[in-house]
């Protein structure tokens, strides 16, 4: 017990850990909420797509000497809206989603070679973008991450009721005058923002683990959508904290890897519980 207490205190001695915990909590909260709705709407593949788009967006910024976050947000939201526009009722099919993001990724490879040839540190920059660098946050970046996460949470709460209605019974919702298509667009824009936030915590390639995995955990544990939102957010935050503490304790374990491992373990536990209950 005293070890845990000591560890808890030691963690807060370091400014970079404080920033990581604060930003990580806010981002995980937003991702947990968004991710649960993604699972409910059957749009997990969008999260997969966003991971690749985030990579290209961040590298585009780096190639032009801009802040990586600018490209992250612009690329994720723009591709989210394009994909929403390609499908009926603000949803894109998996095949078209896959085609768009695989080309965007090809573009990312080109940008990676540009960054590598101009700066010489392309390998390191590429790895940071792909696998995250939450321990490198400063006060300003933390503030921005928290503010944007708060905006995502507020926006999601504002549209939660009609979005859940449109998700659970699209045809009836449309007949009742719920703007299904508009909600589809709004949701994918929010997914884009959440993905760009997650990319800063766990990296572009791993952001699916922070978005979809807590959502899946919640889906396994409860059938009530509001309880599901809460469980998903809690699972995401718990994974982030446990992952950060774990990687603080075991320095060879990168924080993004630890967060994904914990989130996956929670998912595996929820799946087992679900199967036991189903018997």
């Amino acid at each position: 017990m005293s070890d845990v207490l000591f560890l808890g205190l030691a963690v807060f001695d370091h400014a970079f850990m404080r920033y990581a915990l604060i930003a990580g909590t806010a981002v995980a909260l937003a991702c947990g909420l968004v991710g649960y709705l993604m699972v409910l709407r059957g749009q997990v593949f969008m999260g997969d797509a966003m991971g690749h788009v985030a990579f290209t967006g961040a590298l585009a910024s780096l190639a032009f000497g801009l802040d990586a976050r600018l490209g992250l947000f612009v690329a994720c939201v723009a591709v989210g809206l394009v994909l929403a526009g390609m499908g009926d009722r603000g949803r894109a099919g998996d095949t078209e989603t896959g085609i768009v993001f695989s080309w965007v990724l090809g573009l990312g490879v080109l940008l990676l070679s540009v960054v590598a040839s101009s700066g010489g540190a392309g390998g390191a920059a590429g790895a940071r973008v792909l696998f995250g660098s939450i321990l490198g946050l400063d006060a300003a970046r933390t503030t921005w991450a928290v503010a944007i996460a708060a905006a995502v949470v507020i926006a999601l709460i504002a549209i939660a009721r009609p979005l859940l209605f449109a998700t659970l019974d699209e045809a009836v919702a449309a007949a009742r005058g719920v703007p299904v298509r508009l909600l589809g667009f709004a949701f994918l824009a929010i997914v884009g923002i959440a993905a760009a936030e997650a990319a800063q915590v766990v990296g572009a390639l791993l952001l699916l683990g922070l978005l979809a995995t807590p959502g899946g955990t919640a889906w396994r544990l409860t059938t009530s959508p509001y309880a599901g939102l809460a469980v998903s957010a809690a699972a995401a935050v718990a994974s982030t904290w446990a992952g950060l503490l774990l990687s603080f304790e075991v320095p060879s374990l990168p924080p993004s890897v630890a967060i994904i491992v914990v989130a996956s373990a929670l998912y595996a536990g929820a799946t087992l519980l679900d199967r036991v209950r189903a018997r």
Partner: protein
Amino acid sequence: MILDLFAYQFMVNAFIAGTIAAVIAAVVGWYVVLRRETFAAHTLALIGFPGAAAAALFGWPVALGYFVVPGLGALAMVAGRGRGEARAGVETATVGTIQALALAIGYLLVTLSHANLSAAQAMLFGSFLGITSTQVVVLTAVGVGILVAMSCIARPLFFASVDADVAEARGVPSRALAAAFLLIVAATVAAVSQITGALLVFALLVIPAATAQRLTARPGRGVAIAVVIAVAVTWAGLATSYVADVPIGFTVTSYAFALFVLVRALSRLAR
């Protein structure tokens, strides 16, 4: 200029390997698109990365890592499938979790092995231009195996993909076929990703197939068109990369994507 290409053994190898990769990716990809299993295929493609990273760390042959881990992933996906209930949402959550966890483990293995980060990037983005003659031989053998396996299950798989209920009623073992097909997809992505890298197999797998399906719904013709497109974009990509010194991942995906956009626009106009 173009003949210059073949003056180097590595370019000859790249063209042979690229052609084989394009053919098997297009054939298997056509069924992936038909069955709407793009997410599963993409995940199988990505999890070759931890396999390759593990092989690099423990000193196994890299090809072994590429084949074993996606194979296990395919089995895990089959095992994780519900008992025929409508659980699409949560099934994709399972696939997504497998993907994120596998990539995280791959990254951990790369950092543990202290390999430089460009080694990780070669696993992720491939190296068309460093292909050895041994790799070409292995790829040919695997490619032939995949095509033979596909031709054995093509007809019942098509039936089961188009109308699962009727196929089931007629005694087609659709669950066993689905498992066999995912294993074939795993072998395909493993073979192809040694050349294109784990991140870009998907482009070769899905874009030519989806383009072909916009042109025709007939299976024989569709597979043939997908193969022609895949081989053409691969050759064009290789030649462009050689001449202009841009990454192969960019040129191949761009040609394939441009063709898809063109066909999509034309088929909309024709309607």
